[in-house]
Structures are given as C-alpha cells and as structure tokens.
C-alpha cells in the first residue's frame, strides 16, 4: 500500500469513496466500470480517503476525480503527470493517482507521460484508451487505427497509431500493465497490483466509448472471440490462450509465433512469462503482439524495483541535513565576503 497511514479501524465500503456528485458519463460508457472497480479496490485495500489524491487532465476520463470522495485536481490538458509529480515530491505520504486518456496522455501530454515513467515516481497512472476523442465529439486519437474514418479524417486516418505499452517499457517503466474495462475481476486485480507497486505504475485500460467508437475492443471483450484474441499473462506460467487452451506463444529466434499445442509441441516449448525480468526485452516483445496476428496480452507485463524519484529527491535533502545540520539563514547571509559600516 502506498500510504504510510494506518488503515482506519472500520473497514470502508466502496460507497464511502463516492463523492456524491452526479456522474455524467454517457450511459454505457466503460468509465463506469473503472470507477466502480477503483472504489472497490481502495475499499479493499483500506486506503483512507484523505490520503488519496486523484489528478487528471482534460477529457471524458479526466472527470474521474470529481466522482471520488477523496482529494482531487482536475488540471490542464495533458499535464496531470506533472501536477502529480509536484504533489508527490512534497507529499510522499499520499497515494497519488493520475487518470488520463489516449488524447490527454498520449497526444497533448505525451512528453510528460514519458518523463513521469522514466523518473519512476511512486505514483499510479491509469490511461483509459478508447481510441477516440470523446469530449470533443469524435475526432481520431493517437491510438486510432490507420484508416479510421472520423469527423476530422473523412477519408480515413493516415497517422500510424501509438502503442503506449511499448513506449512505457521503452521508458523502463517499473510497472506496466494492460486490462479491460468490462473484465472487472481482472481490472480489480491490476488496480490492486498497481496500488501495491512502489514506483510508477502504468496501466492501459481498453475502454469502450459507446458513442464515438462503440466496439473498438469488441474482439477482446466479445464472449465468442475474447479467448482467442487475448492472452492473460501470469508470472511464471507458460503463455497459453484459446477457448480450449490449446494455443501458445513460442519464441522463434527473436520473434514470437503462435503455435498449437500437440503434434510434438508441449507447454515446455512455450514462452514463460517473467514480469520480474531485469531486462525489459520480454515485456517489449509482448507489447508488440497485436491483433489479428497475435492475441493481445493483458495483465502485468513488467513489475520490477528501481529507485523512486520522490524518494531520491527527499533522501538528498535528509542526508544533507543529517551531515551538515539544518540550514541557518543568518549564517548563509553572512557567509563569504562581508564588511561592516559603522
């Protein structure tokens, strides 16, 4: 748990984390499921409401802080990771969560996201990826697929989409995960793991926009297709997927390939997931696996320990004070060359 405060005596309920403000996302929006799981996770971890701060930028997802009965800042477009950085650096006792989206976090705020992840502050970043601009009513986003027809791309998008987990891993993120809005159990598990991780936790949530891009992730959520199109990662387990759990991922040279178990191919031939691998190569390889060639992995890609920016920054101060004593302004002002006028 990220907060130093002891959990309150009475176990809180998810409802204790609801702010009471009317939730104004469209009916059927994937954000509702994420909000519900967040409240549930916070309750089950018993993090006191006053120790939680949700920070967001601009967009549909960024309304999130208003709906939590915690502290919160709804800041400027794309800048939530920086607000969280300043807050966490001065208040390491708080559990700080950044809520962002594919437009907010990857377009206008892309710069801040990579720097927050590389610094490895002890914060959590949840990116709601719906592959579209919702609040501005339906323009394509940095994660929209090539050829996507929207109001701003009537002949189809010509922007190569960004795959954020590859970027997060490239920034040597210490906790990188993916989950899906409607897969509530998995979502809850990932949120809990993120809360427990020390360092920047980065989660991409596949989230459905019912109005502007309904069904963007239907392949990964549909009852008939999800087992074939997603691969649930489990640490130390071979990578098996499929409705009949008869398919797996095998390494062929430096490339992954899909194989069918049987005919001499056994579980022993498959890649085994290692979220704790010191080198991010395996996590990166997984982040490159996309439909339709591959099932898309969900779960924790990477979870490793690395020094945290907020801790290092505050440690430099503590160690300086321990070695030299606390600063004395009068001494500072009178240091160096001075002279007296009688």
């Amino acid at each position: 748990m990220k907060t130093d405060a002891a959990p309150s005596a009475k176990k809180p309920s998810p409802n204790d984390y609801a702010s009471g403000q009317d939730v104004r996302w469209c009916p059927g929006c994937g954000d509702y499921a994420i909000l519900a799981q967040m409240k549930k996770t916070m309750a089950s971890l018993g993090i006191p409401r006053e120790k939680l701060v949700f920070v967001s930028g601009i967009g549909c997802s960024s309304r999130f802080p208003y709906y939590m009965n915690t502290y919160g800042i709804h800041s400027v477009h794309g800048r939530a990771p920086t607000v969280a950085t300043g807050l966490k650096v001065v208040r390491p006792d708080l559990s700080v969560w950044v809520i962002t989206g594919d437009g907010d976090g990857l377009s206008i705020g892309g710069n801040h996201l990579i720097h927050a992840i590389r610094r490895n502050l002890d914060i959590n970043i949840v990116l709601f990826n719906n592959r579209i601009y919702g609040l501005t009513k339906g323009q394509y986003s940095p994660t929209s697929p090539l050829g996507k027809v929207t109001k701003s791309t009537p002949l189809g998008s010509i922007d190569n989409p960004l795959h954020i987990l590859s970027v997060a891993i490239g920034c040597e993120g210490t906790f990188v995960a993916r989950t899906i809005d409607v897969n509530t159990k998995h979502l809850g598990m990932v949120l809990q793991r993120a809360a427990e991780h020390r360092g920047t936790s980065f989660i991409e949530v596949y989230q459905n926009c019912v109005v502007f891009y309904d069904g963007a992730f239907e392949y990964a959520t549909g009852r008939d297709t999800r087992d074939e199109t997603t691969l649930e990662l489990e640490h130390g387990k071979p990578m098996i997927f499929g409705k009949n759990r008869d398919k797996g991922i095998r390494l062929n040279g430096l490339e992954p390939e899909v194989v069918t178990l049987g005919n001499g191919i056994t579980e022993d031939d498959l890649l085994v997931h290692d979220e704790r691998a010191a080198e991010p190569s395996l996590a990166y390889l997984l982040s490159r696996m996309r439909q339709p060639e591959f099932p898309e992995p969900i779960g924790v890609f990477r979870a490793v320990d690395r020094p945290k920016y907020d801790e290092l920054l505050n440690r430099q101060i503590d160690e300086t004070i321990a070695a030299q004593g606390a600063g004395d302004l009068d001494r500072l002002f009178n240091s160096g060359d001075t002279w007296t006028v009688e």
Binding site: G72, S75, T82, H112, T320
Partner: protein
C-alpha cells in the same frame, strides 16, 4: 586595507601621487573566453569590501564561445564604485581595459574623452585586427588620440610571470585576466588580498593554476608600480552607507535568498519547479545548492511541467515557485489560468529579457509587462510585482509570497536581466527582524459534512485545505466552481458572480499594500513614473536635476497590478507625467487608460538599461516646454 597594502609596497610606488576621486567607472572587455566576468566580479567584491558603494553591469553575448576574436564574441563587465550612494553602473566609463581589437572597437564609444584605455598590445597583430574587421591598427592610426592609452604587453608579460608553473601556452594565457585585474587594482588602489583568497578557494585543487593566477595578479599590480607609463593612480574612499553589515549581491541571488527567507517565515517548505532558461537559471543553481534548507528543486521536462508541478506542490502545502523568462512564461500561460481558477498560492518569477521570441536572451528589457498583466485567456487577474534593484529582489520575493498566501492567488514577480546579473551592496538583515508570514490550514473535520473549499474570509481568500487532512476531502480544477461548495457549475449567474469575486479579491491587494511613495516634491510640474529595474537610472537622474533646482519628482511602482490605491490621486498632483520604461509604452498605456492622464513616454528597447544622461535629457525637455 588599501593603505596596509600600500605601505607594504616599495618606495617607487610611494613616489607616484594618488588622485582622490569620489567615483570611478571601469569596464573590462575581451573575448567571451577571456574571463572578463570574473575580473569584473573580483573588482566589484574588492571595492565593496573596501567600503565603496558599487553597481555593476555585466554584458555578454548569448553564445558561450562565439568565434574567438570577433565582435560577436565580446564580453564586458562594467563596475561603478563610489564614496557616495550610487544607483547605476554609470553611463560612460572612466577606464576601459580591452583585451583584443574587437573588444576595443565595440567598447570605445563608451569611454569618456581623455579616459584611461589599457589594451593588450600583443593582441593587436594582423589576425586579431582582421577578426575585428579593422582596416588599420587603431594603436597606430591616431584614432585613440583623445585618450590616455596604455599599451601593455599583457599576453607576453603574463606568460613570463607564470613561466615557472609549467603550464601550456593556452593555460598560461588564461591568466591574462588576472594580470589585467592586478594592474587595475593598482591603478585604483585596491587590495589584492580578497582576490588572492578567491584564487585559493576557486583553484586550490589545481596548485599550478592557482599559483599562476596569483603570480599574474601580482605581476599586473607590480607593473603599475614599476612602469614609468603610469605616473599617478586613483583612490576612491569608502561610502557613507547606513550602518550595518553588508555583502555584495546579484538580483538572482537575492531572489533565491528571498524565497528561502519566505519559506522560513511561512513555515512552508520551498518547491522550485523550473526549466533552464537565460537569465533565470541562476535562481535554480542557487536553490539547488540549498538542500539543507529543505528546498526541493525540480528541473522539469519543459516550462509547462515546471509550473504544473508547482501547482501540485502548492495543493500539497508547499511554498510553490516556478521561475522563467518571457518565452517560458508564454508556455506557462494556460497553467497560470489554472492557478487563478483553483485559487492556490504560487509565485511565478519572470526574469525578463529582450524579446519577442528568442530575441536577445542575455540583454535586458521590460517588455513583458503586458504579458504579465493581460497574457491569459478569460478574466484572469493576478497580482504583479516588480523588483527595483538587485537587493530589492530579496524583499519582493518575501512580499510576493505574503500576498500569495494571504489572498490564495498566484503572484507574478518581474525581474530583468539587468537586475539578475547586476549587483550592489546589500545590508544583511537579521532574519529575527523579518515579519512572519501567517499561513493557516483548516483542521480535520469529523462532522461528516462535505468540506466547503470556496468559502471566503474577510479578504475573500478561500481556505488552503491540505490533502491528508481527514474530513476535508475536496476536488478543485479548471472548471468553474459553484461559490462556497466548489461543485462544478455551469450556472450563468454563478459564473458572473465568481468572475467578479475573483476580480474583487485581487483588487483587495491594493488595500493591503502600502500607498505609493514619491521621492521629491509632493506636487508640481513633473512626475517621472517608472517601475522595476530602471529605479537606479531614474533616481540618479532626478537627484542630478534636484542639484540644479529642477521641479521634478519620482515615483517608482512595485505593484503593477493592482495599481496602488492612491496612484490616481497622486498623478493628479503634477502638471505632467513622464513614464520611463524599457519598452514601447506598456505602463504608459495602462496609466492613460486607467486614470485618463495625458502621460508621455521615455522608451528604449536596445537591450541596454537607461543611461542617466538620457533620462536627464528627457526630463529637461519636458521641463522646458511652455
């Protein structure tokens, strides 16, 4: 100290007469790699230590190492030291030290007729003259006839002085500035001891280099004693400054120390979020050194991150500061709006430089006033304060934070390149004598009622409730808030109310601030109105005119927004108002529109500060009218 040094010297020195002066202005100039800034700052420190009042003007190119020997690469440092109170680094120089032809050509126009000109004669060979674009050698073509020229073989003499240290020629030549310093120290009867101490501190880890610099310094001094070229030297007695302990301080250092003091006085730990930019970076460098004061410096990935991180730190209860220069402030603008909307205390420092765009990054200007006052979307008022001298940066930093927490608002502090890099004696305050800054955070609530983040106190400030406090959970953000409850609101009447309320709150700062003071007659023919870093030039010009009995007064604004409560009435007391500023009339426009006063302007945008002479001329021109 000066006399002790003199008695230790030989009888040859004693045979040379000393001419007492009440002030002198000296400029070192050379290539940007010649160590001219160091030479200037050593002469400054030494002059301050012997009790002179000092004012300095470092002037250097933006390029770290422009092509050697060219005019583009010339770096200069001007110092004015006096036996009386002075406010400016001087319009023109009494003595010029030029290390090469390019430096001579570019700086000669500022040397007074008959002034002392010391040149490194060795630098005036074919190549150096070509690089400077000289058709003929100024040392030979008669163009220096109107000055007291001293052709000194600085390079050759320095190399000879440091020969025993086994340095390369390149390394030996790096000691030339110390030779030049030594000679100037002799010429103005300054002690060598502070610089000798500096050499040990700065170069102590490289004994050969330290010794070479020491020898070069001494050789320059001895050259003055022994050479027949110099028949006399000068002295400048200590100034009669108010009693107290003094040190020399630059504007950026004073700004940084003011922040440290405000942090201590308010009990809020200092967070400084910034992105490197000339000429503000030295504030970061100074604060980064002060970890034992609990200062957290954050070098962000960009200007926007720097201010938004500061906003996050402010929400967490820190004394949050972001510092930049004009182009950086442009980037921060949207976030300034967030700070106004969320009503969080925050300091935004703008150390102005010549713009627009990249402009002239190492030159001074006051052209960001409109940006400070108006450069935001929406109705977005915030207090704007400006420092008037290097030492004043200390006081402004404290005052700005006092306002930020009293009114729960971001405050914009304007400095400029001239103040940032310039220095003056600072009477060291005792921190026990500084007024504490009251900060109140609401305490935990257990009544189960929702916290009301937008209730107001008597000054219309909202409460600064900190995360971690039980029962005060609340959300703030850029969306319009319902009065009192802080809930998101699109209600038309509420928006009107909130816009007016925020404006009234900032207007209240004028009631809280001291009334505007005037130097000189309380009414009459002419008021010179200025703001920020031009104080020294305006104050000196006005004093010079008083000596001639001219009916002129001077008011210098610290509060640019809101304007002082008594300013309108004050302006009415004079027949004419002359607004002097280093822009094309930004304050003047505001004064005219706010008070319907027919103010006229004295404006300059050369990247350089006002000279006293041009202010005097402008005032006299106005006074001669009718």
């Amino acid at each position: 100290m000066a006399s002790q040094q003199a008695t230790a010297m030989t009888s040859i020195e004693e045979s040379k007469p000393t001419v007492p002066l009440d002030a002198a202005t000296v400029r070192f100039c050379g290539d940007s790699g010649d160590g001219m800034q160091l030479a200037g700052s050593q002469l400054t420190n030494t002059s301050a230590l012997v009790g002179n009042d000092v004012a300095t003007f470092p002037d250097f190119p933006a390029e770290i190492r422009a092509p050697r020997g060219t005019k583009a690469g010339v770096s200069g440092f001007q110092i004015h030291f006096a036996s009386r109170k002075i406010f400016t680094p001087g319009d023109r120089v009494d003595a010029l030290v030029a290390m090469n032809p390019a430096a001579l050509i570019t700086n000669l126009p500022d040397l007074v007729p008959g002034g002392v000109l010391i040149v490194d004669a060795n630098a005036f060979e074919k190549r150096g003259l070509e690089l400077a674009g000289c058709g003929s050698n100024p040392l030979e073509d008669g163009s220096l006839d109107g000055y007291q020229v001293f052709q000194v073989e600085v390079t050759k003499l320095t190399r000879a002085a440091v020969k025993e240290q086994g340095l390369s020629t390149k390394e030996a030549d790096r000691c030339r500035n110390f030779f030049a310093m030594g000679l100037v120290f002799w010429l103005y009867d300054r002690p060598l001891e502070p610089t000798q101490r500096f050499i040990v501190e700065k170069f102590g880890r490289r004994p050969a280099v330290a010794e070479a610099n020491r020898l070069a310094l001494q050789a320059g001094y001895n050259y003055g004693i022994t050479t027949e070229a110099f028949t006399s030297r000068f002295s400048v007695d200590p100034a009669r400054l108010p009693p107290g302990k003094y040190r020399n301080i630059t504007g950026n250092q004073a700004l940084a120390w003011g922040l440290l003091a405000a942090s201590k006085l308010s009990g809020c730990p200092l967070f400084y979020g910034t992105y490197p930019i000339t000429p503000a970076s030295d504030v970061l460098h100074e604060l980064a050194k002060q970890k034992k004061f609990g200062v957290r410096t954050f070098q962000a990935e960009d200007e926007i991150a720097a201010i938004t991180a500061a906003i996050g730190a402010s929400f967490g209860g820190a004394m949050a500061v972001t510092g930049t220069s004009g182009p950086g402030l442009s980037l921060k603008t949207e976030a300034v709006g967030l700070a106004v909307m969320t009503e969080l205390p925050l300091l935004i420092l703008n150390v102005q430089r010549a713009g627009p765009s990249t402009g002239m990054p190492t030159k001074t200007e006051q052209a960001d006033l409109n940006q400070a006052l108006y450069g935001r979307h929406g109705e977005c008022p915030l207090p704007v304060l400006a420092a008037s001298s290097p030492a004043d940066c200390f006081d402004v930093a404290i005052e700005a934070w006092r306002i930020a927490v009293r009114f729960m608002t971001p405050v914009l502090v304007l400095s400029d390149t001239y103040l940032a890099n310039g220095s003056e004696p600072w009477r060291i305050p005792s921190t026990a004598g500084l007024d504490p800054i009251a900060v109140r955070h609401p305490e935990a609530a257990h009544d189960g009622e929702p916290f009301r983040p937008y209730v107001r106190d008597e000054w219309l400030a909202r409460p600064w409730a900190l995360p971690g406090t039980p029962g005060l959970m609340h959300r703030i953000g850029g969306l319009e808030k319902q009065d009192i409850t802080g809930a998101v609101s699109y209600d038309p009447a509420n928006h009107q109310h909130m816009v007016e309320l925020r404006a009234r709150k900032i207007a209240n700062v004028a009631r809280h601030a001291p009334p505007q003071r005037v130097e000189g007659p309380a009414s009459g023919k002419l008021l010179v109105l200025g703001w920020g870093g031009t104080y020294g030039a305006l104050a000196t010009a006005v004093r010079r005119l008083w000596e001639r009995g001219a009916p002129v007064a001077h008011a210098h604004l610290r509060y640019l927004y809101p304007l002082p409560a008594n300013l309108g009435e004050l302006l009415q007391r004079y027949d004419r108002v002359l607004v002097a500023e280093l822009n094309l009339g930004q304050l003047r426009t505001r004064i005219r529109s706010e008070y319907l006063v027919d103010a006229r302007g004295l404006n300059k945008v050369t990247g350089r500060p006002f000279t006293v002479g041009e202010v005097v001329d402008a005032i006299e021109k106005v006074l001669e009218e009718e």
